[in-house]
């Protein structure tokens, strides 16, 4: 997963990009970058690390100009290497461009092999660079026309922002897998912003104008907004953004995430009621559906698991086997609260199941009499090829186990998932607005072409 941000026509373009990326930090914690444009020259700062660590005051001062694009990254395609940090930049005939991409191209490897055959040298492992290499070979005079031609050849999920001397371009794949929203500053309507989620607008006092449409290539320049459209496919927004990934204070494709997530919890209460004493969320992603469940069921809501916010990357596992060690670094049950109680534990989803199993055992050790796990989405049975970093099918717990087997494995008294229909209703799916539900159904809107061969370059450290 990744987050993208773009801004046009603001004297503090880099500073606001930095803030926008901070608001999108939940979409990627591995690296961050901002590229600004000043009189046709691009200036870049890109580094491994969190937004707050990557950018110093001095570095932001080194990013002049009134437009900028930014990116936060959790690697899906391309390894964890400095050279893959986005926004990618390149000098093309016609000028330098910077490109930030959220999503995953399913035919990237095929196109890369073709391009290498023709003599292209790739400077990253990123699927995103395919778009730049296609543009570099394009014969159209205008950069935007070369982008349109390049996007006609790529398949998969992409929400893009691109910066060039001509202005800012925002583009979204024809299925609209990943979110991309257009906004403008409240105090200056001539300053446009584009972001993965509306929460980035809130921080910088911008307001949502509309979503970038699936298949739309939106150019923002001194003359205002101009749209071109790729052949439209069926809208297939990723429902997992609503289930888990997006921030609850965002509005995506016109739908408030918090409201949908609460509705999922309510639907779950209707579908899977159980007599119990407490509703306890797995924080933070389970909180909103748990509130919905509690409200609908009338069972009291309690923050029975406390989250430690200081979890770092490298924790030392002691040799003395501590029970539920990994999960305890992050979560701890409130003593007394759970003892002797029948507890409904609400989480947003289960992927591998290893964490859920530890949570159930930890709550049991805290004295709970019964533990009923309620999952506010259907079983995850298939990997995502469109930009979410899920494990292979074999590692997905629900891909090969029944709900009864899952309950037994998780050591819960019962485990019930929200039905696909329940999710569709809660997420306000419709004929005109069907979601991509591949991870829950295996129904893939686009075929994925797996990579062939192996990369031959390995950088130990830059």
């Amino acid at each position: 997963m990744c987050g993208v941000f773009g801004i046009f026509n603001h004297p503090e373009a880099a500073n606001l990009s930095y803030l926008g990326l901070h608001a999108l930090q939940h979409r990627g914690q591995e690296s961050a970058g901002v590229v600004s444009s000043e009189e046709g020259t691009l200036h870049a700062v890109r580094k491994m690390g969190l937004v707050a660590d990557v950018f110093s005051v001095d570095q932001l001062r080194g990013l002049p100009g009134t437009s900028a694009v930014g990116h936060v990254r959790y690697s899906t395609a391309g390894g964890s290497l400095p050279k893959n940090i986005q926004p990618l930049t390149a000098e093309l005939r016609g000028g330098a461009v910077a490109l930030a991409h959220n999503g995953n191209l399913v035919n990237a490897e095929v196109l890369r092999a073709e391009l290498e055959e023709e003599g292209a040298i790739f400077s990253s492992n990123s699927d995103t660079e395919v778009i730049l290499q296609l543009m570099a070979r394009g014969r159209e005079p205008a950069l935007i026309d070369r982008l349109v031609a390049a996007l006609a050849r790529v398949e998969g999920a992409y929400s893009l922002v691109m910066l060039s001397a001509d202005g800012l371009i925002a583009a979204r794949d024809p299925h609209g897998f990943r979110p991309l929203v257009l906004g403008r500053l409240r105090r200056d309507h001539s300053c446009y912003v584009v972001a993965s989620e509306t929460c980035a607008f809130d921080l910088i006092d911008a307001e949502r104008v509309r979503d970038v449409h699936p298949g739309e290539i939106l150019r923002i320049d001194a003359n205002g907004l101009h749209s071109e459209h790729l052949p439209r496919s069926r809208w297939r927004f990723c429902v997992f953004e609503h289930v888990y990934f997006a921030r609850p204070d965002s509005v995506l494709d016109g739908r408030a995430v918090y409201e949908l997530r609460a509705a999922m919890g309510e639907a779950l209460a209707r579908e899977a009621p159980v007599d119990a004493d407490l509703v306890v969320p797995v924080p933070d992603s389970g909180v909103v559906p748990a509130l919905g469940y509690a409200r609908r069921s009338g069972i009291p809501f309690e923050m029975g698991l406390i989250r430690n916010h200081y979890v770092g990357r490298t924790f030392i596992e002691p040799q003395s086997s501590i029970r539920h060690f990994g999960v305890k670094l992050k979560l701890n049950p409130v003593p007394g609260l759970l003892a002797g109680k029948r507890v409904i534990v609400v989480d947003d989803s289960i992927v591998r199941g290893t964490t859920s199993r530890k949570i159930v055992k930890m709550i049991r050790a805290a004295g709970a009499k019964e533990i009923h796990l309620r999952i506010a989405s259907p079983p995850v049975i298939s990997p995502c090829y469109y930009g979410i970093d899920t494990p292979t099918r074999a590692e997905l717990l629900a891909s090969s186990h029944t709900q009864a087997e899952i309950a037994r494995y998780l050591t819960a008294d019962s485990v019930v998932y929200l039905s696909r229909e329940g999710l569709a209703r809660a997420a306000q799916a419709s004929v005109d607005y069907p979601y991509c539900t591949a991870c829950f159904t295996g129904d893939y809107p686009i075929r994925f072409t797996p990579p062939t061969g192996r990369r031959q370059l390995r950088l130990v450290e830059f």
Copy 2:
């Protein structure tokens, strides 16, 4: 504020100390340190930064031995300097010792001046070092006797753990201002642990045995537990630990923090009801009292403010004045949820009021029709001299303003604090167990002697 941890008789003493400190990270994020003891030699790792950043696997391997003490620090006395990082260590006649201290000594400056007059050289600015210097001059043969003699001369708040060749010592001042709990490993009852809060026990599979008593000096060595007692004063545990500071999953002096904090919210609902549509907490500290308020009042609870967990230390304030900038880096209202609503906002306390004012304005900007601020503790009117880093009296909003003035300043429709009696009841105060409530009442159990003169050494950087 600080957190302390000690462990005796475990082959992975340093590793478990590291984990214990991780669980206590909320008590101090500035620096961290662990000192272990192996056959009479002390080994130390101490650094500025979070626990997860301070210790590498290699450094923990460099801390051999079966007993250890640790410390996390948010500086109150002593500046933010490497030399002040605890545990402090010293070679005394009789052996080396390591000392970790939570609290604040009120006569440290007076004692320091006396000791310097007699020829002592202090190697830190920390009030804690006074205890070591007093011990160094003591004539008693046993280190513990010198500690007892030293503690007889210091006044103020201290929860201490000390490591020497003889074993582990835990001590608490006669008023018991700050918490200190004794536990033991579930799998090995001969391994004792001491920590500021029980949440440190949960992470390492230890169980609470009892609190260290006010005025108790508890020695843990190969022969078991041995207690000595300073002349007992009246128990005066810091009520602000229950209101704000401690983690909600801890049990302090036998009282579960979560339960007390929820009771404060319920009491507030009884004392200060208001007709409204939603109860919204200021996360994270307002969540538990808000649940209590909502439960008692019957008004729906919603997580109307979303917290960004990635807030770093150094944020660049853009020149373009963004509304509510500072608070928005951390909190954002859920759009739609608050519009047109009458909102009860619950927070644990108000210190300066600047953040509360921004929160109220932010919620108003999100469309709330009415905003009623409910504070789950009384007005903070006096600074703390016992280890909590509060501003001077002049900066405390409630020290010079009426509740009506406060409501006007905060731009809230109403502001009501929990009464002192309400807090006392919710916190289960009694004649036998009165709290220190100095910050709310100005009633100081011990007089503070302000420092005279100034320090003459300044380190630019070590």
Copy 3:
């Protein structure tokens, strides 16, 4: 200036490359890199800094394989950026390659513009990348054939080592501007090494086999050595390597640097005798010619200037104007030795003259009665376009001043340069072996095409 190194068929290829680069450190202190090859996969470590700082034991362990190439760099073309650190690597059709280059291509900008027009994306500012991009577009099946084709298009100075799955390739431009020597390990004649100077062989117990010939493209693989040849031009080895750049313990194109440098000093003594008490070198580059001068003239040699070996990069100039500040950080006269003496100061060359002026004044301040500057090479009047980082013509002191004016500016009693003929004889020039003397004569073997336009990408920091 740069240094290159390559090794084929040694189990510690990366370790020996690291040592070879250490011996070549004088050729470039800005960055260092090693790329090793193991079963067709390339592994790279490249960083800003000195060889001893760039590589840790762990990083060298991360460079497996039995062949490797390395590079130390002092930037001439391409700015001081991480992405320009060599060896450059690329995945080409046919496999990954790594390329290390010493020299400067004079038509790089023209070729780059052409390649960008055709759709190439450059990932560095380095002229070296042009060779890789030409290879990427080549249609020949074998990589070496594509390299030959690429080199047929570039003009200028290059001594190259290239690593691919097929083996190690060493190549030198048809004029042989820059040095490149072939060697083999004394203990294992099947292990070949290639380096800019023979001093790299001495450190690793290798012996010189022969120089790579001008225009030779030498492939080293499991079958041994194979040569191809570009159309031969007239040999034009850079005489400035012998005057200043190379280490005195190296042998370049069969000539021992020390011997030539001493001969320059002797020639200078014959051409420019002067009655004096002492011969004093400017260390370190003036030491060998000064020994020659002293021997020929019979005037005693003394190390009258002591060099401080700890000069770092960033020195703070105090506001109080200290006489001869800059040069004193590096050199200091021996007190007493120079007072009242007639001193002959010998240096290898004068570029801008600012340092020489400070040295003369410093020696005068130390009490010298007369100062006669003797320069062991002719006046530098023209910039170098073949890989030595000289300033523009306007900044070259001798380009616009007579020797009398120079003596006046430097405040010396006399200044005499070695004549062009004297240099030619001392350097053993001949009809078959004429040097490139462009810096002394303005006689350029190849025309330089200046860059047009400007780069549009700027990285503040990676």
Copy 4:
């Protein structure tokens, strides 16, 4: 070994200290520190590393005031720890002081044990801290009187500079083991400087006034210079400073190092002539005596060994055993120059002999027909207890081997040392000015009391 620097009454006191330390860098490369004084407050920057790396422009700006002391350190007593970095600072009754020390106290451990018994807490392992602790306990009102009293109790070698609110103090032990020189700025005679060697004066345009006398305690304040004297012992300046340690451009106790070192070479030529073709120095310390040897003997001097100036700290030794590996990282013979020649190799001294053996073998491998090692000082047979970091007696080659055995071990055709008498004459020793020659003779001016017991604190990393 260490270097000290002090300056009084200059607006850029810290900047000039930094430069002075740079000139003294050869005396200690492990750590560096400067403490400045401004209106009674001391400001310190101290770090591991070279002077040029320790101080940034910002850090020097953080050192205000018109007087300062500085220190470079190569640890002799006290381990390699941040807390031992000098100048040491302490707040004493009467004000803060900073102390920089070159030398070694022979009764430090005894005094430390006494002081700890009385209740002193040491914050370093450094013998220097004993002086501060003695001062802290002194009852005299004036700091200088307490320093005099403290110095009356310590024994051994010390050249000190101390900074306090009262001014700058320079002190030298009664034997005058280590150098200490007084100077003043040429442009401002009211600005005094004190340094270990005069080369520090040259860099900052200061001139030598005189040496600080053995046993002198010299106070420099607004009223000028004031001297007190400890009971005088016999002058015993360390002859090894002239042999090896000091920079050749320094003047110590009125004697020019270069001149003495050349005289040692000349004496060696007289005492140990040999028929040969070349005189070759081991750079850099052998260069000046080799020039003396060559001049006296009439045998040509050549720089037959070239030194690599980029030797770092951590070099990876490859598994493939490279001949003379360690020494080759630093030195390389000039090819051709030595082949078939009878070579006299001149070095300043031999300690363990391991490096000399490698050098001899390396020169032999370069083809030398005969190798005659000439050492410009007598055999080192005893360890130094006065501040030079020599190995134990058992590791000193000459302590247990005859010259014939040494020649055989070093594989040289002959090895001859300068006689003790020859050294005495070359170093201008006299009845009034006898040197400490303990390392050559075992004749110790003061007895050393070895430490008892062990330290119990170990810091893994600060």
